[in-house]
């Protein structure tokens, strides 16, 4: 009997031991920060001069959401970034997945090539593209000049008209590999017989894709699509290290605005408000998309 109870006690104790690291990390570095930045978002707190946060309730949110023109710019930029980014990433990764799915020999090599940018850090991608798109000595402008399009050559990341789209291209290059792999695994899961049947019925390739492949890919398209949409809102690295939000405020995104408020203006209240509004948009969007479209997905970064 006493052996039994001590065994039980030991079991209980061991459970605590197994859970302890998880609980410590989750509470200290996740739960506490979330609550703490929630509190900060209801305060006025300039880290450079105030000793402690001063509670102001919702008035900080009101100011930011209603009157802060930089915040409005950040929201506008964010969506101006997101729409082409979502379209490019989705269409290119789907197109590549369908093409590579058709290939017999060499399909694996192409799979590796298109996935490769996923292992390149975002800041490395930013460095590479700012070199390629450099105004005077960049190879892309040189290419344009050499084919007689000299008037198109410009400082791609320095021109307010193109800077944001330069970031779209850079980020798409890096992220396409992920949805490509998701879609490719969908394409490869389609039974050969279904596609043969379509061919026998006289469907050309385009009809086969439209009426057989796309409908069967639906769950993959939803999962990948939601992932792209959520990720299109979490843009920090490129505006931070390629354009510094500029020129002017042309590439000021929500993440970067929150960071700038906190670490350049030391306005922790504003920074937390922007972070919370961004998080709210992201959570609402992922909830709504999952509710409407249904697959099992979560976003990262």
């Amino acid at each position: 009997m006493s052996w039994l109870s001590s065994r039980k006690l030991q079991e209980r104790l061991s459970l605590l031991v197994f859970l302890l690291p998880t609980l410590l990390f989750v509470f200290i570095f996740i739960a506490f920060p979330v609550l703490s930045s929630g509190y900060l978002s209801f305060t006025e707190f300039n880290y450079a001069k105030d000793d402690a946060p001063a509670f102001v309730g919702f008035s900080g949110y009101m100011d930011t959401i209603l009157h802060d023109t930089l915040f409005h710019t950040a929201i506008k930029n964010q969506f101006q970034f997101a729409i082409p980014y979502i379209l490019i990433t989705f269409v290119v990764s789907l197109g590549l997945a369908i093409l590579v799915g058709e290939l017999g020999r060499g399909a694996r090599i192409f799979q590796i090539i298109f996935y490769l940018p996923m292992i390149v850090a975002m800041s490395m991608a930013g460095v590479a593209f700012s070199w390629i798109l450099n105004q005077d000595v960049g190879i892309f402008n040189h290419f344009l000049r050499s084919i007689g399009l000299a008037s198109w050559a410009r400082n791609w990341f320095g021109d307010p008209a193109t800077a944001l789209y330069g970031l779209v291209v850079t980020r798409s290059w890096k992220m396409i590999g992920f949805t490509f792999i998701v879609f490719l695994s969908g394409v490869q899961a389609i039974p050969r017989s279904l596609r043969e049947a379509a061919k026998v019925d006289g469907a050309n390739f385009w009809q086969e894709v439209r009426h057989v492949v796309i409908p069967l890919l639906r769950p993959y398209l939803l999962t990948g699509g939601i992932w792209i949409i959520i990720n299109s809102l979490k843009v920090f690295t490129l505006p931070h290290m390629v354009t510094q939000g500029g020129p002017g405020v042309a590439t000021l995104t929500l993440y970067y605005y929150s960071w700038k408020a906190a670490f350049q203006r030391y306005d922790m209240g504003l920074a937390s408000q922007v972070a919370y509004v961004t998080a709210f948009i992201i959570l609402l969007l992922s909830w709504a998309l999952n509710k409407v479209l249904n697959p099992e997905s979560t976003g990262r970064f």
């Binding site: 570095f29 920060p33 880290y47 290939l103 090539i113 940018p117 460095v127 390629i132 961004t278």
Partner: protein
């Protein structure tokens, strides 16, 4: 009839050729940025800034690599990245193997609720953690230390590790556990000697997901490590670019190649693990 069939075959062969052509063009576009960095890194400075630029190096030189590794903080960035990545991976493995066992193979009150809470964390954008962690690290003097970067990285990756490890532990049949208990294993021996070896593929997936994340991470590294000597590679390369302005692209290229090399080799060796582990890790685990 015969003519029609051979016409159809010709058509499909032509179609395949067109597909190959399209995929090859796309591959060239995808490979261009890293290859161009490699190309730049092998040139002398005056060769890089020639106007008009040339496509191939006039002469291949390793001077940029030598410079980055001997004159700059290059090796220091490398060391920081290696230490932070290895420590984060090991801690995530340990914590998620322990926690995953508790959530996957044990029963206790409040388990589902606690687990749901941790999984919910996965959807929270990282920008929400950054400011409080920064303020906390100032108080604890953790900025510009390895541990100050490792701890948040472990916390950010732990939920993914738990997701992966929990599902691995939950598929282990109960008979194995019972047999081990009858053999006189205590709880820790049961976990370490009996259960853990079975979850090896899940441990590999957790390793890859964490490794790839930490090796590339920029938001926390650039904010928490404010001094040059504590920078990891993804942030260090930006310092390198800014410090030397436009003259630095050969060196930036060398740094680019050096920092991608380790993960690239790993990727080629374990590509199936990589693609499967990352895809699953990023979607659901």
């Amino acid at each position: 009839m015969n003519g029609l069939r051979s016409f159809a075959r010709l058509l499909s062969r032509r179609q395949t050729a067109i597909f190959y052509a399209m995929v090859i063009v796309a591959s060239a576009l995808f490979l261009f940025p890293p290859l161009w960095m490699l190309n730049t890194s092998l040139r002398a400075t005056e060769d890089i800034y020639r106007v008009p630029p040339t496509v191939l190096p006039a002469k291949i030189t390793l001077e940029n690599y030598v410079y980055v590794l001997t004159q700059m903080q290059g090796t220091r960035y490398f060391l920081n990245s290696v230490v932070v990545t290895l420590a984060s991976v090991l801690l995530v493995l340990l914590a998620s193997a322990m926690g995953g066992y508790a959530f996957g193979a044990r029963r206790f009150r409040g388990k589902e609720l606690l687990y749901m809470g941790i999984v919910f964390v996965l959807t929270v954008p990282y920008i929400m953690y950054l400011i409080p962690i920064y303020l906390m690290e100032i108080k604890l003097h953790l900025r510009n230390t390895w541990i100050g970067l490792i701890l948040p990285y472990v916390a950010l990756n732990l939920p993914w590790g738990l997701l992966i490890m929990r599902s691995a532990f939950s598929t282990i049949p109960l008979e194995i556990k019972d047999a081990a208990v009858i053999d006189g294993c205590n709880e820790y021996q049961l976990w370490y000697r009996v259960m853990l070896p079975i979850t090896r593929p899940a441990l590999a997936a957790t390793t890859i997901v964490t490794f790839v994340f930490v090796w590339q991470e920029y938001l926390f590294a650039s904010t928490l490590m404010t001094k040059n000597q504590w920078q990891t590679l993804p942030v260090g390369i930006v310092w390198l670019r800014d410090e030397l302005q436009t003259m630095a692209y050969g060196r930036v290229g060398a740094m680019f190649v050096l920092s991608i090399l380790p993960i690239f080799i790993l990727f080629l060796l374990l590509r199936n693990f990589f693609i499967k582990g990352l895809t699953e890790g990023m979607l659901k685990g």
